[in-house]
């Protein structure tokens, strides 16, 4: 890889151990993906929940944070994905002091490096949305696919270590989605049924992700005649990334790089229709009318303030079933607003619980399921029902309204 003088100095250790580690790490990754050089990034978003970081990862973060301030401090604005523990509410969920302590140590180490603990996977709605052409090093697949597709920014999926390396140096290897040639469409889909609610958009994303099926495929989607909201595209992207490891999609006439099919090189591709059977097929894998439900979850991605109001409006003045729990996950920024506006109280007065700065699936989902006897899980998130089967749950999918009615009835309505 071609390195600048500054990058060579970092690699040689002239700017301290943290930057030397970071450059070495990025050179290894860059070599694997044939990066010609590094590209400066404007901001970084890191996934570092304690369940995945583990004792070894926390010790690694602490080791970097033990260096002098000018060596350990990140070079560009750097923010974080959801935590694994809501430190104001973990014992009642069955989370242990050991889990909370890992989280506290992670927060302390990251804070010493100048990382802003935003604890959110909806930073593109709440912190600083990137702009078209912005090079980034973002973690969380839902964040990356949204920023690439809806905003026209440029990021690969960055795992925690690579995001940290980018934060410490202010650059990332130039490969994958930083390059024009990897952003043209490779698969073409035509939609005939217009999605309506958030879950419809998630199901469409899941179907296309499953069909596209690889990090290196870029779907272009035709036939959408409605203008989706940011929340709808959030669910579309999160599900597509979850089912297909897909980091970028184009919606013709909607997303910024695809004013036309031609603009993303889609005209030569064979079109695949998305049929009603495709959509019904994905949904029917997560069915279950009349079944008892242990926990209803709104998360993955964290809820926007608008979604918080929608949940509160549907549930206010009612009471959830005594054998059913309702968990809502949102970012600290949205939580503060939702609390100020009375939305948290409306949800919790009905027996629900709003968690701050976590997301259900990365907060020791297996352990809290076992501790609370939660097996039958219902959600409006296509992403979460896809991934929680691997954690011992029997997940079912329904629209937000049906989720609320099911929480009240104690069974899937």
């Amino acid at each position: 890889m071609k390195l600048t003088e500054l990058e060579q100095a970092m690699l040689a250790g002239e700017m301290g151990v943290p930057k030397r580690w970071a450059m070495d790490h990025m050179c290894k990754v860059g070599r694997m993906f044939d990066a010609a050089d590094m590209v400066p990034v404007s901001q970084v978003h890191m996934m570092a929940d304690p369940e995945s970081v583990g004792e070894a990862g926390v010790a690694f973060l602490e080791h970097l944070a033990d260096h002098p301030d000018h060596q350990r401090r990140v070079a560009v604005p750097m923010i974080t994905d959801p935590r694994g523990v809501d430190l104001n509410y973990y014992s009642p969920l069955g989370q242990s002091e050991e889990m909370a302590n890992l989280d506290r140590r992670t927060i302390a180490a990251c804070s010493r490096m100048g990382i802003l603990m935003t604890n959110t996977c909806i930073n593109y709605q709440t912190i600083m949305p990137p702009v078209k052409g912005d090079h980034l090093a973002f973690g969380d697949t839902g964040v990356v696919i949204y920023c690439n597709s809806v905003l026209g920014a440029r990021s690969n999926f960055e795992g925690g270590p690579s995001a940290l390396a980018a934060g410490l140096t202010g650059r990332t290897p130039r490969y994958g989605l930083h390059l024009d040639e990897n952003r043209i469409a490779t698969k073409r889909y035509v939609v005939h049924q217009q999605p309506k609610g958030l879950t419809d958009w998630g199901v469409l994303g899941g179907v296309i992700g499953r069909l596209a099926g690889s990090y290196w495929e870029v779907p272009v989607i035709e036939g959408i005649t409605v203008t989706p909201t940011s929340d709808q595209l959030k669910h579309l992207g999160a599900a597509m990334a979850s089912f297909g490891s897909t980091p970028l999609f184009h919606l013709v006439g909607i997303t910024p790089e695809a004013p036309t099919l031609e603009a993303v090189g889609g005209t030569a591709l064979t079109a695949r229709d998305i049929t009603r059977a495709d959509l019904v097929g994905l949904r029917s894998g997560f069915g279950g009318k009349g079944d008892k439900v242990d926990v209803v979850v709104f998360a993955a991605p964290q809820l926007s303030l608008i979604e918080m109001q929608q949940v509160a409006d549907l549930i206010q003045g009612r009471h959830i079933h005594k054998n059913t729990a309702l968990i809502v996950c949102t970012s600290p920024a949205v939580y503060a607003d939702a609390r100020r506006l009375g939305l948290v109280a409306l949800i919790e007065d009905c027996g629900g619980k709003v968690l701050e700065g976590t997301c259900f699936y990365n907060q020791y989902a297996r352990e809290i399921g076992e501790a609370n006897g939660w097996k039958r899980l219902l959600s409006n998130s296509t992403k979460i029902v896809n991934i929680l089967g691997g954690y011992g749950y029997e997940p079912a999918l329904a629209d937000m309204e049906e989720c609320i009615e099911s929480a009240i009835a104690g069974e899937i309505v």
């Binding site: 990754v29 995945s52 070894a56 973690g139 999926f157 960055e158 690579s162 690889s214 990334a241 691997g390």
Partner: protein
């Protein structure tokens, strides 16, 4: 007779070990019981099998960004594969291998690696040169 399989230059140090092969994918978060070192997702072809000190040979990497930290955590406890070979890696697994110093290669020129290698084969993986050698048992 030894067979040499050429691939893209990868990550990590040269290693020798026994292959565990499946025409399936890999997510450290959702496919594994990381404490006991076995595949645990019921739908995975290798469910119930130990991956500890094996050279895993799989199709592609799936799942979210968590796997990047997890390879490092698994290796720190000595409950990790020796190497992973993919037809196609994704960015997250490559980043995880770089942090963990775990050997990883992908993009084999001779075709589907899950068909070219069989479970039980002895392999030598040379990531710098992008070569995997099947060692003759004789």
């Amino acid at each position: 007779m030894t067979t040499r399989l050429k691939c893209h230059p990868g990550i990590g140090s040269p290693v020798t070990g026994q292959a565990l092969v499946a025409d399936d994918n890999f997510s450290a978060r959702y496919d594994l019981d990381r404490i006991n070192g076995v595949f645990s997702r019921p739908q995975h072809i290798l469910v119930g099998q130990s991956y500890v000190d094996k050279i895993l040979v799989l199709n592609t990497a799936k799942g979210g960004v968590a796997s990047a930290w997890m390879l490092h955590e698994m290796k720190s406890r000595g409950v990790a594969p020796k190497a992973i070979l993919f037809n196609t890696a994704n960015t997250i697994l490559a980043q995880g291998a770089a942090l963990a110093d775990m050997t990883m290669c992908d993009r084999f020129v001779d075709g589907d690696i899950t068909r070219l290698i069989q479970t039980g084969d002895q392999l030598h993986v040379d990531p710098d040169n992008g070569v995997v050698t099947l060692i003759d048992p004789d």
